[in-house]
């Protein structure tokens, strides 16, 4: 294990690669931004879903450098997928990734005691190493002094002070890097002597760090009094939780309020473009493809960019300021009630914008069972793509009536109820998952609460620009392709001569709708809804556009909502509308989410489980809503009622059967064992047959055996 991989083959005079390594909260990303500015490229490491950030910068001499920002870690002893990447890159073990020429270890200079151990570990790798003492301005402000020469001598590596937030703050670092690149300073012994330290070796590192700190830090640092005073309020048990919920409330207000104007502008722009294209091109398939397919389809997704940016702005503000760790601290015990880790808060919060970044954010949860439980409930958070559907149906079916003397509107209340139902359902699912599949104690919470910092506008801007780029790329490629496909399905084959009704009824999409109708009739859905649900798999909000097409209307967006709403109100019963609303809380209507779950869990099992359980929940909830609403209003239910009760019983049975057979027969035995171990399930007793559990009710009996708490 200690053997490093062979050096990759040299390319023609490549720019030297420097890799930034450091603890979380050491200001590494700020330093990366200071070095590279906007010359950054964010992608994924080959084969893993960890974000890879590379940038370019020019040293004072004109020498170009490549800079790699590695995920933060306390140790090369990796505990999460992110930290594994850092270890493997540093040790040159990651396939497809060249060994960095120079390691820059970034440490928070105000906290050398905690951070220097990583330097000692990195020294063992035998790679050229520079120590960047970040946040030196804070050291001076706190009345402490660090003897750089003594530190450099004790560690045996060049030490440079950096202030990532100042323009000239990285000059000394670039000089030091250049000296090493030129071979002037030799810090390499070339031998990779790193091995995973045990507890005694860690203690040894610590003693050495203590000795070095005693030697090099000349005035004891006063602790950060401001952070402490702020925390006395923000971490006060009751007041702190109140403030946290207030912050979240403001955030959701902002997502709707701030994003409204840019969304209206985008909508106006799209409408103008659509009209212009429709007028400029002759009537025909191309015109229809461009207006109904591309502009309406891609536009319906792009319009959410402002909301997503506002949400990310808030999340990044919370993260950069250091508040996010406090939120996890405040919620850890409460979320522990349903078996979730405090850190699950951040992914779940992101999922209100979109489950895809939310699920990717679960990487910070080290324990696989905790992480899987969080991933499985993330799509139940109401994402912004459900909003257009909610807005359309609520406006059409819920009367705009004021309640409680005008303080609360009925429409707003219904919207809130839909969000709340999603959250409550997520918590219930979490309880069930943690009692059955993901049994076991929670991963320990061991988290640094960093000192509060003022977020830097430059870092925020760079982060948001990157989000925009990723989002628009997705809209321009995958969603674009899907929209073209959907338009094709909804347009061909055309209606036969002399046919009655909308042409779409005869298209592939129409045929699919009619095919699905018997299945969906028990929950009150019409064939038009069935058509809308299919492309809604690609992106939920597309359903609005499809309904518009189906009901032979040509407007889109807000303009559509007015007229389409009226049409829907006239053609659907209230139970049908309520049923569709409830359906949207639960339905696994998002290919992107399922595919990101497949990537993140590296298995097809978990997306299958997610799809099955959400579909079953959606169907059951819609069924109950439809029947209940119909009974209360005395309306007749759909004609196929006789079939419906059977299908309600049959569907869960089919889902469970498919799930079980996927578990038993489709997964190789070794993978199944690994999964069980990964989620902390007891291993099946090893029998002569190899323990396939096929003879002993492996799926249904086990959770009952262990229903008591550990």
């Amino acid at each position: 294990m200690t053997q490093s991989a062979p050096m990759p083959t040299a390319m023609p005079a490549p720019a030297p690669m420097i890799a930034l390594v450091g603890n979380p909260n050491c200001g590494k990303t700020a330093l990366f931004n200071a070095l590279t500015g906007s010359r950054q490229k964010v992608a994924n490491y080959a084969g893993v879903t960890v974000e890879r950030k590379e940038g370019r910068c020019i040293a004072p001499s004109g020498q170009p450098l490549r800079v790699l920002d590695l995920p933060g870690t306390y140790s090369l002893r990796a505990r999460s997928p992110d930290e594994e990447v850092t270890r493997d890159v540093v040790l040159g073990r990651l396939p497809g990734e060249s060994l960095p020429d120079i390691l820059v270890c970034v440490v928070d200079a105000t906290n050398l005691r905690l951070h220097l151990r990583l330097v000692l570990e990195l020294k063992r790798t035998g790679r050229p190493l520079v120590l960047a003492l970040n946040m030196m301005d804070m050291v001076e402000r706190r009345g402490s002094r660090i003897d750089l020469d003594a530190l450099s001598a004790a560690l045996g590596v060049p030490v440079v002070p950096t202030v990532a937030i100042r323009r000239d703050g990285v000059r000394a670092l670039l000089d030091a890097v250049e000296r090493i690149a030129a071979g002037a300073a030799d810090t390499v012994d070339g031998q990779d002597g790193w091995s995973e330290p045990d507890a005694q070796e860690l203690r040894g590192y610590h003693r050495k760090v203590e000795a070095i700190v005693a030697q090099a830090v000349q005035a004891p640092s006063r602790s950060d009094g401001l952070t402490r005073r702020v925390d006395a309020v923000l971490l006060q048990p009751v007041l702190g939780l109140g403030i946290l919920f207030l912050v979240l409330f403001l955030m959701f207000q902002a997502v709707f309020a701030w994003a409204k104007l840019p969304m209206d502008l985008i909508n106006d722009g799209l409408t103008w473009l659509k009209t212009a294209v429709a007028a400029g091109l002759p009537e025909g398939p191309l015109n229809s493809l461009l207006t109904d397919g591309v502009i309406a389809g891609v536009g319906s997704v792009v319009i959410f960019l402002p909301q997503i940016l506002v949400l990310f702005l808030f999340i990044q503000l919370l993260e950069d300021s250091g508040y996010m760790a406090r939120a996890a601290f405040l919620l850890d015990r409460l979320m522990g009630g349903v078996g979730l880790h405090g850190r699950a808060f951040i992914p779940l919060l992101s999922s209100f914008a979109c489950a895809v970044p939310g699920i990717m954010a679960t990487r910070t949860i080290e324990n696989r069972a905790d992480r899987l439980a969080t991933i499985m409930i993330a799509p139940l958070m109401t994402c912004s793509a459900r909003l257009p559907v909610y807005a359309l149906l609520i406006a059409a079916f819920i009367p705009d009536r004021a309640l409680f003397g005008g303080a609360v509107g009925l429409q707003g209340l219904v919207m809130f109820a839909l969000y709340a139902t999603g959250i409550v359902a997520a918590l219930l699912v979490a309880v069930v998952l943690k009692r059955t599949l993901f049994r076991g104690a929670r991963e320990p919470l061991l988290m640094e609460l960093p000192a509060y910092r003022l977020p830097r506008p430059r870092n925020l801007a760079l982060g948001l620009a990157e989000r925009t780029r990723i989002f628009l790329t997705r809209a321009g490629t995958r969603i674009f392709a899907l929209m073209v496909a959907i338009w094709f399905l909804a347009s061909f084959p055309g209606a036969p001569e002399g046919a009655e009704g909308a042409a779409i009824q005869y298209s592939f999409a129409g045929q699919i709708g009619h095919l699905l109708e018997p299945l969906l009739a028990p929950i009150g859905f019409t064939w038009q809804i069935a058509i809308a649900l299919v492309p809604g798999m690609a992106a939920r909000e597309v359903a609005v556009g499809v309904l518009g097409t189906v009901y032979s209307l040509s407007a889109s967006g807000d303009a559509l909502a007015d007229t389409l709403g009226a049409t829907l109100a006239a053609s659907w019963s209230l139970p049908t509308a309520l049923s569709l609303l409830v359906w949207y809380i639960f339905a696994p209507q998002c290919i992107s989410t399922l595919s990101v779950v497949r990537r993140e869990t590296n298995s097809t099992l978990w997306p299958t489980v997610m799809f099955a359980y959400m579909l079953a929940l959606a169907y059951a909830a819609s069924f109950v809503t439809y029947r209940l609403a119909s009974a209360l209003m005395g309306e007749p239910v759909a004609a196929t009622a006789a079939v419906s009760w059977q299908s309600v019983i049959v569907l869960p049975v089919v889902v469970v059967a498919v799930g079980l057979s996927a578990w038993r027969y489709l997964l190789p035995a070794t993978l199944r064992m690994t999964l069980r171990r990964a989620v902390g399930l007891p291993q099946p007793a090893v029998a002569a047959c190899g323990g396939c559990s096929g003879c002993g009710g492996g799926g249904s009996a086990k959770p009952l055996d262990h229903s008591r708490r550990a």
Binding site: L114, R203, L334
Partner: protein, 95 residues
């Protein structure tokens, strides 16, 4: 433990405002999902090592769990369960 004359107790039993010095780590009594030895190593990596001075700064809600601990120059949040693997001598005796 460690021949110290001061009485030692688990860190998880400390209340807000109490200061102490870490005298030893023993994860044997703590129930954890981690492999043996892992909790001890993680605690050391977060600075909870023999000789470190600690102070309980904040307590969570409900049940005063988790706790935020000042460890030398930084602050660490952890649950009382895991904190019980850290044995400390309370400054001025266990009160």
């Amino acid at each position: 433990m460690h021949g110290s004359r001061l009485p030692t107790q688990p860190l998880g039993g400390l209340r807000k405002g109490m200061r102490a010095e870490v005298v030893g780590l023993d994860e044997g009594t703590v129930s954890t999902t981690l492999s043996p030895g892992e909790l001890e190593r993680r605690l050391i990596e977060m600075g909870l090592v023999e000789g470190a001075t600690v102070e309980v700064l904040h307590e969570g809600f409900p049940a005063r769990d988790p706790i935020a601990i000042r460890v030398n120059d930084h602050t660490v949040a952890l649950r009382r369960n895991e904190a019980n693997a850290v044995f400390v001598a309370v400054a001025g005796g266990a009160r």
